[in-house]
Symmetry: D2
Subunit: 345 residues, 4 copies
């Protein structure tokens, strides 16, 4: 799969490309590069209520997805924390997944989150997104118990057995899943869960060591704030990054991607500095432990403040947030909004 | 609702009682007393596999439920940790709920767990169990984020608004829900979530203080190991306890209940000592933090070893367990099995 | 050692009693009963400064100690958290220890905290307090590492070997020492550290089970808030409790002791309710995790507010405290002050 | 202070240099570069006993220090975790500090740890090491309470006020001090504690962001495993790293320093790979949480196994360690020993 190279012909042959995708062999690690946009699932007015129904604003979700593709993002991931996968009903989740996959129509890779509390349901959801045509599934860990090494590896081994030709992205989040994802996890994953081809990271990690441990079989994808550093450290492997910020207007992170691809590391660093600035108020001053309690709320709040998309209300029960935390999110949104023109083409 | 007192006429009028139940007013705190049995959801062979389907052994679930009623348990709770509510598919969960409620036929109260990752689904599941005829719902906290005071209270406030005449039992488990359930939680619950009439406890708590804070509006239900102590401390209020052990054979905990009800505190203490002994190997020696990683596994392992019911395999992904932990569970099951004859009538 | 029974003759023969104490055999668990007052180490003005020297207000320390004895407290413990043992210089610590022991002159038992970061120093300090004539030492766990079962037991085993005839009180505080003090700890302590005859508890514990595990060899001492409950549960063993509140004026806790000793459990419960009320604002609403960050500050703040003693400024570095936490401490002090007349004889 | 440049004349004028040092102005951040060796405090036989006295093997400490200087290390730090500062008596600590400072005689910078449980003692110890002629003090956080932002900043502000012309290195260790050292800490440190010129890091951090926040006023010093990466990311600022491994034989880390200084990043990376390999068994497979319980033990075990110095027994109470953890340390020592010849000049 060569997304950028095939853009030209795709414009005229989108329908064909879509079919081609269906019969194409599975994406590989090498296809994962550039800017992956993690998008919200816009909610209709009133969705903060326990009695809200049919909450997905499909028009806005489709519009946002299309606009991001037109802007040039390289891939999507959705149905994790930011997309409120935990709070939608199964039907809403299915609608939202279908909306994104169908809007993308194979033009770029789409990973869809299928984390649930149990293996049966995660298999079921993963099959669903595969059937939809999503590129792969993004999977976190069981949450009813603090995850253990044995249990965490077994889940991915089971998923590789269940869908042996379907790419998986590991959703590495220590705060949510109460698991440090230590070296032995990765060493066992490459042995027992060969369909894991990517891992979304939060925070800074020793990717180089991870690459070595895993024989370069997994694309470790850092947040855009870390993209410049990791590209410097390993220009061949660290070629992808993720951003929820793209849904506040993708210009800064697209500029970052282009600077990185052009090898203009000074410019990449300067853009990173701008991103650092907008992030200052996003993580509460009490640190990441506090952030973990309000990550869903903060993402939606800043997106709504930035105004690039209408993410709508926050779905319960993750809609409660102290005002001083919320204000940090709003300020982040305002800063991003002010930053966008600087990187508009 | 007066269960014991109405047993005599109920034998002949079960169908009527069932109808009466439907139209009866909501159960109150005063109806919650005696031994509440927390039962497993027996699994068919192969249920440890990711590709298992239709895993609920309904015959065994019904048989176990009926046998416990015949033995004299005072109530049930299910669809929490022990019942593997986290791992069943929605359809399996619905089948299991229906099986229990229909088997019980209103003869004793049944609380059914409806915890999910989001409020919409918890409302939906709670309505489902209400429609089934379950006495009330047992609800834990959101798990995608560590719970906060504001978020935890809001969830129960929402549930009280959603089902204003439906009794709730709070599922107090600090390990699973990463929340200490501190005094302000209970103070706010009685204000904002008046349908909460019971709380399942794990570990030892200052129930007396909680009763005062909540104006005696909530029945705090300790584990059978603590029942004797709490009855001593407050003979009027601490009249209910829970036990997962009953599903290994209820004789010891029934004897405990009878001793407590008869005011024979020496006998109650002696029974408690016997229960302490069987529990010695159940909680791993590393403590409750380690237990939280394997609580599902340990419950099923000891039940299968005790042999009173056939709990079947452990559903994934919570089926991985180190051998030394598993052996602690098996030894607990063996000890319980050996203890039962002592308390058989 | 029979303190109360020997009060009459002691008035005239204090010097003799003092000598007698020196040659007396070691105190046993049976001598630990009634109200143990945990006292502060009053600080002179300016002690909150890094350049303060000679900070111990020995006059006030002596006065407070004597007044509490005259009021009828049954024992003392000092040089733990409340006494700011962590922040005094060694010389200050020695002065304060000597002041307390010499003021008491053997009239009641005195346990003195000798926790340090290392075994050599803890042995040295324990020998020092033994030579002073203190009844025993109160010892916590190493803090440079989170304590482990093996390391925690070894420390007490070493202390028993180092001072084979000197009574020890275990300072059970999970927050400070990052250790859950699980059953295996106590099982090993009775085997390997026979000089441990008492344990100060924080929070509620299953003392009955601990007594069984340890063959009734250890006096487990709960906080005054729990004294009533534990006396009810085991009237023979649970005969001692501790209180830092006594240093705000001992009347309520003396009344509690007398009610418990007289078997007037209704009165004991009523007093406990009054104590519960003053404690409401002492533990921050965020819970015990937050309390652990400000326990020293809160104790000194409430004592100064209550005005029974002049505890003086808080020594650095544990003197920083947010205003809303501090206000909780002050309110607690005001409530205690208002409560005292009710229980004055 | 220009250490390398002034080596030539120093050989003949050591005494003069020593005097010069005394009257010299304070070292600045710019003087902190290259390899900082964190050394143990060798213990005499029997030091694992509670009754050991006079445990510091001063001959070995002096020999090790001198040999490392002769080998070319750029600086020292001591009296942190590895040096067992927590367990020595004050006299032993003073002897060990004096031994190191006097052996070094100002030829390279020496930072000496002065962390205690209280501010008075930390001021006292810091004055002591200043008077000895140590370059600066390395200071951690209070341990009796989990550190808070306010308290942590205040400690360093107090130290800057107490010794306004004495350089400090922050001992950043989240595991020991239960504090995440978040951005607001560093922002406030540069305002309120201007004598902090360096920070020892554990794990990977976003040094670039920290440099920006602190206006490049602090030298952030990573572990040797991270040195290559950080040099790549910021060749001008990230010019120092620390290593406890140097005390197992400094050749590999000296080679790393030389490669970094020569700009030979491929070689630096290759050396880092070798270091990664020896570290594989050092951090227990359970992760850094488990490491925090045994860091002292593991350092001494691997040093003794490597045989470059005789670190001697582990002082109590941090001498207890499970065999499988200890074996990880020994294997690490064996690997380092085998690695040294590869980098011997």
């Amino acid at each position: 799969m060569k997304h950028r190279g095939s853009f030209s012909w795709r414009i005229g042959f989108e329908a064909l490309a879509w079919i081609y995708w269906e019969i194409d062999s599975m994406i590989t690690k090498d296809d994962i590069k550039g800017l992956f946009s993690f998008i919200p699932t816009p909610a209709k007015p009133g969705s903060e209520r326990w009695d809200a129904t049919d909450t997905v604003d499909l028009d806005e979700l489709s519009r946002l997805t299309e606009e991001l593709i037109q802007s040039g993002v390289d891939g999507f991931a959705t149905m994790g924390t930011t997309a409120e996968s935990a709070t939608m009903t199964e039907k809403e989740w299915e609608q939202a997944c279908a909306c994104v996959v169908e809007t993308v129509r194979g033009r770029v890779p789409v990973f869809v989150g299928t984390t649930t509390l149990g293996t049966y349901d995660t298999v079921k959801r993963t099959r669903f997104v595969k059937d939809l045509g999503a590129t792969g599934a993004m999977i976190g860990l069981p949450m009813w118990q603090p995850a253990t090494l044995g249990g965490a590896v077994q889940l991915f081994a089971d998923m590789s057995e269940a869908l042996p030709d379907y790419p998986l992205m590991t959703y590495w989040n220590e705060g949510i899943f109460r698991f440090p994802f230590p070296p032995p996890f990765w060493q066992q994953i490459v042995e027992r869960a060969p369909t894991v081809i990517a891992a979304k990271l939060f925070g800074f990690f020793m990717i180089d060591e991870l690459l070595q441990m895993t024989g370069n079989k997994i694309r470790f994808i850092p947040h855009c704030q870390m993209a410049h550093k990791h590209r410097l450290l390993n220009p061949e492997e660290n070629i992808a990054f993720w951003s929820t910020e793209a849904a506040m207007g993708p210009e800064p992170v697209l500029a970052l991607r282009d600077a990185l691809d052009a090898g203009d590391m000074d410019k990449a660093k300067a853009i990173t500095r701008d991103i650092d600035y907008i992030m200052e108020t996003f993580i509460p001053k009490e640190g990441h432990g506090e952030f973990a309690k309000y990550n869903i709320q903060l993402e939606k709040i800043r997106m709504n403040e930035a105004g690039y998309c209408n993410a709508g209300p926050i779905r319960p029960p993750y809609h409660v947030v102290p005002e001083h935390i919320a204000e940090g999110g709003r300020e982040c949104g305002r800063r991003w909004k002010a930053l966008r023109p600087k990187y508009a083409k």
